[in-house]
């Protein structure tokens, strides 16, 4: 049995992980629902974002500070995402086997990105320096100031996105394109622009996730594999019916991971998650929080 303070610290750890995972999974889910494809380069996007932020922000790079790094990473990843979409996904828009073809192009794109990072920054591990230090405590809850910054930024980003998708005309248009491309075309929506913007937005979310991961872990060019897998687990568990479903699932996964690590150890935690994921896929493929939307 764990005592109260251990319980709270594991719980806190899980919630913090959940915040991070929701950021990673959101972009993946956005691309999946809108473009109907699975982006295997999402993990590489996360790493790329981390390295850009490091290069711009860190004293060993340009030394402009954490926040400048984060902003450049987010904007830079938006541009990279748009380029990726144009080169690797748009060519197959009218092909019936787009799902399969984009699997290989995004996998190849991810390989290229990872190796480009390797060429530019080398294989040695790096870490993004933190903007703040110290801990913040509320009773038994105790998190580092860093994690607090992350929670605040992510919450703001996701709330902003939620408002954007639900309320703004551009966001509504994005959802419309996601749900029915042809009807959106007939409504005079700028479909190519919306696709590019969606992919760019997803990439910049990945970039932001990279900034935070790079500040709490050591970065190597292959850093992205684990976040991609986690994002995948989250998206499957939650489903993509509503844009909030992956967020719920992210917290669920974060908590499961935190408690599983405590109880069954680090080695078995991924296995627990994958078993859970397979079980959900078999029993309720549309996800725990959703209705099946796309059968591509």
């Amino acid at each position: 049995m764990m005592d109260a303070s251990t319980f709270v610290s594991v719980l806190t750890g899980g919630l913090v992980l959940g915040v991070l995972y929701s950021l990673m999974a959101f972009g993946l889910a956005l691309v999946w629902t809108t473009l109907g494809i699975f982006n295997f380069a999402h993990g590489a996007f996360i790493v790329m974002g981390a390295y850009i932020a490091w290069q711009v922000g860190n004293p060993d790079g340009f030394g402009l500070g954490f926040w400048a790094g984060a902003i450049v990473a987010v904007l830079g990843m938006f541009v990279l995402g748009v380029v990726f979409q144009f080169l690797l996904i748009k060519p197959f828009e009218r092909k019936p086997n787009i799902v399969l073809l984009t699997v290989i192009t995004t996998l190849a794109g991810a390989t290229i990105l990872v190796n480009v990072i390797n060429v530019i920054w080398g294989p040695r591990s790096k870490q993004i320096s933190l903007p703040v230090s110290g801990d913040i405590a509320f009773g038994l809850f105790r998190i580092s100031a860093n994690e607090a910054v992350m929670v605040v930024v992510v919450a703001a980003a996701l709330a902003g996105l939620g408002w954007f998708l639900l309320r703004s005309p551009l966001g509504r248009s994005m959802r419309a394109v996601a749900q029915n491309r042809e009807a959106a075309q007939l409504m005079g929506l700028n479909v190519p622009l919306l696709y590019a913007a969606t992919f760019g937005l997803a990439a910049s979310l990945a970039g932001l996730a990279g900034v935070f991961i790079g500040s709490i872990r050591f970065m190597t060019p292959n850093l992205g594999d684990d976040p991609l897998q986690k994002a995948l687990v989250v998206v499957i568990l939650g489903g993509v019916a509503r844009f909030t479903s992956p967020i719920y699932a992210a917290f669920l996964v974060g908590l499961i991971e935190a408690f599983a690590t405590y109880y069954v150890g680090l080695y078995w935690t991924p296995a627990v998650l994958f078993i859970l994921m397979i079980a959900v896929l078999v029993a309720k493929p549309e996800g725990l929080f959703g209705r099946r939307q796309r059968s591509v």
């Binding site: 999946w32 494809i37 699975f38 295997f40 080169l87 690797l88 060519p91 197959f92 092909k95 086997n97 799902v99 399969l100 073809l101 699997v103 290989i104 192009t105 996998l107 190849a108 794109g109 390989t111 290229i112 990872v114 190796n115 480009v116 390797n118 060429v119 594999d225 897998q229 995948l232 687990v233 499957i236 080695y267 078995w268 991924p270 296995a271 994958f274 078993i275 994921m277 397979i278 896929l281 078999v282 493929p285 796309r294 059968s295 591509v296």
Partner: protein, 615 residues
């Protein structure tokens, strides 16, 4: 029904035998063991990628645990030989069996899923297996793997000796057997069921295909040689490391599959060699190698998604186009006198239309014109008996359809269809200064004749068709109007083997004899695309309009069939002709074949003369 001859009757036989023979003698030429090593790897990749092609390309199941099937084969080999002291050869078999068991296990969660969901669940399965493998480090050695596995040997002879020659031939033999297995299975009931499920799931299920059973068997079939290849890999490199679960291995196999061409079987085999050696060329470039390989794969998939196999097919089509075109040019130059002699001295002339150069044979004279239109893969000389017998009664005009005889080849998309042929017929008549004519169309030419009549640009004095079923609703009526069990099925096939060429010419005209030999010689000249492209224009042919013209009784018309025509469903035509108000006659020539004017010229000529004379 799909035309599907056994392998030894297809055009693929000789290239395959030659390639196998080349691979078998290659070790005598290539002695350095590094090149042999690459070839062994390429054989192995070819086995794994083509096996995957069966489930992914043919079955449409995005099984991304295919790498895990290989890995399970590898670990089965490692664990059984190392801990149970099983003989390496038996371990190979066990590796295949283990992969099949895993495939069946994967099939269970996959049964209810489609598309991306299958990708996700199979990735999850393979990650799960990876985690299990790594966590059991007492047996599997964790991330560093099982090392110093026993290699293959016969008696005391280890296969690694003599520049790995034993492994080379084992890999080659495995590739040949695996390919034969996959080839057979794509043509079996299972293969067809898998393709049917991929193309139209609900229709296939409604027709009695069991989805669950087919998916399980499809995955099992693709697992068998993948697992064996995994075991073989273990015996060859003598290490079982968990890297093979990773995306690197999967990406390599997937790029081989897609660069080769999905659902082709042969494409991935060819691409395995290409990618293995290409990647080897770049080995000194470090990370740039991965970048360049990634770019190449993206370029191929973006610009040419059909891949290597489609390219080979297209190349073959181009070569065949050039061959038939050159043959036509050559014959146009050299055989003209002989052809004119054959056509009882009728002059051969040429006109150029939008549809290329068209050869016309016109017996001339101030007689009523009779236009003769030949059928699929034939030529105007098919009518030489009519030229001999009827030239005093009619001005006989025949022409070679584009892509046939000594007419030139033409743009397949615009020209190789019945509507364009009718346009050519109009140009021919205009060139000959004929504004009204009797028309006889044979087989495909029959549809050209019907279309010519329906277009109403030429005054039709009388019309006869042979070997043609008039149709109202296409393609529905097609199945009713013809006998699908005949060699008719070849009429849409692009490339013929010698046997097919003989079969088709024999059914369409007559078995080879002194008088029909020229038809058999002519057939290979026909542009194969003329047969293949017809289907893309079916929707814009107004079939009921052809039929309406016949019901209107605007001109004398008769169907003149051989009663022994192997292509036709005679019952369909008899039903049509016996309709109460069908205003036309059906003449059935006793013992006539698909070309009654050729088999039974006297009866046919008599029928035509009496039909058109009565008009």
């Amino acid at each position: 029904m799909r035309y599907d001859p056994p392998f030894h009757r297809t055009n693929g036989l000789w290239p395959t035998l030659i390639l196998i023979a080349l691979a078998a003698v290659a070790p005598f030429v290539i002695s350095d063991s590094y090149t042999r090593h690459l070839l062994i790897l390429a054989f192995m990749y070819a086995i794994v990628a083509s096996s995957w092609d069966f489930s992914l390309g043919f079955g449409g199941l995005f099984n991304f645990a295919h790498g895990a099937l290989f890995a399970v084969g590898l670990y089965t080999y490692a664990l059984t030989t190392k801990f149970l002291a099983v003989s390496p050869w038996l371990a190979l078999v066990l590796a295949g069996a283990a992969a099949i068991i895993l495939a069946v296990a994967i099939a269970l969660p996959v049964l209810r899923l489609d598309g991306i969901y299958v990708i996700l669940v199979t990735i999850a399965v393979s990650q799960l297996l990876y985690q299990i493998t790594v966590s059991q480090s007492d047996f599997t050695g964790g991330t560093s793997g099982v090392v110093s596995l026993p290699g293959l040997k016969i008696g005391k002879y280890p296969f690694i000796r003599d520049g790995k020659i034993g492994y080379y031939y084992t890999a080659l033999a495995l590739l040949v057997i695996s390919t034969a297995f996959l080839y057979a299975i794509t043509r079996s009931r299972l293969g067809r069921a898998a393709v049917a499920l991929r193309d139209n799931k609900f229709f296939a299920i409604a027709r009695g295909v069991s989805e669950a059973r087919t998916r399980v068997l499809t995955l099992a079939a693709s697992a068998l040689f993948t697992g064996i290849a995994g075991g073989f890999y273990g015996s060859y490199v003598r290490v079982a490391s968990p890297d093979v679960y990773g995306t690197g291995f999967l990406t390599t196999i997937l790029s081989i599959l897609l660069v080769g061409g999905a659902a082709t079987l042969w494409g991935p085999i060819a691409a395995a060699f290409l990618i293995t050696f290409l990647s080897e060329l770049l080995v000194d470039l470090g990370p740039w190698r991965e970048i360049i390989m990634g770019l190449i794969i993206i370029l191929v998939v973006v610009f040419y998604p059909g891949g290597l196999w489609a390219f080979i097919q297209e190349l073959r089509e181009k070569v065949d186009g050039v061959r038939t075109g050159v043959t036509a040019t050559y014959r146009r130059k050299r055989g003209k006198t002989a052809r004119e002699a054959m056509m009882s001295g009728a002059k051969e002339s040429y006109i150029r239309t939008l549809h290329g150069l068209t050869a016309i044979s016109d017996s001339g004279g101030n007689l009523p014109a009779l236009l003769l239109i030949h059928g699929n893969s034939a030529c105007k000389e098919a009518f030489y008996k009519q030229y001999a017998a009827l030239k005093d009664r009619f001005r006989l005009i025949a022409f070679d359809l584009p892509g046939h005889g000594v007419s030139s080849n033409a743009d397949p998309e615009t020209t190789y269809n019945a509507v364009a042929y009718a346009e050519v017929a109009e140009s021919v008549l205009a060139d000959r200064g004929v504004s009204q004519a009797y028309v006889f169309g044979w087989s495909l030419g029959g549809y050209v004749a019907l279309e010519l009549a329906a277009r109403e640009n030429v005054k039709i004095l009388g019309l006869a068709i042979a070997g043609t079923s008039p149709l109202t609703v296409v393609p529905d009526d097609f199945a009713d109007g013809y006998d699908a069990s005949s060699h008719l099925i070849l009429s849409g096939k692009q490339f013929f083997t010698a046997q097919e060429s003989y079969d088709y010419a024999s059914s369409a005209t007559a078995p080879k004899s002194a008088e029909s030999a020229f038809m058999h010689r002519n057939l290979p000249r026909t542009d194969g695309r003329a047969r293949a492209y017809m289907m893309t224009k079916l929707a814009i042919v107004n079939w009921p309009r052809q039929m309406r013209r016949l019901w209107e009784n605007a001109f004398p018309f008769a169907i003149v069939n051989g009663d022994n025509d192997p292509f036709l469903n005679h019952d369909y035509i008899r039903r049509l002709s016996s309709a109460e108000d069908w205003p036309h006659v059906l003449i059935e020539i006793e013992d006539g074949k698909h070309a009654p004017f050729f088999n039974k010229p006297d009866e046919f000529n008599k029928a035509i003369v009496s039909l058109f004379a009565g008009a």
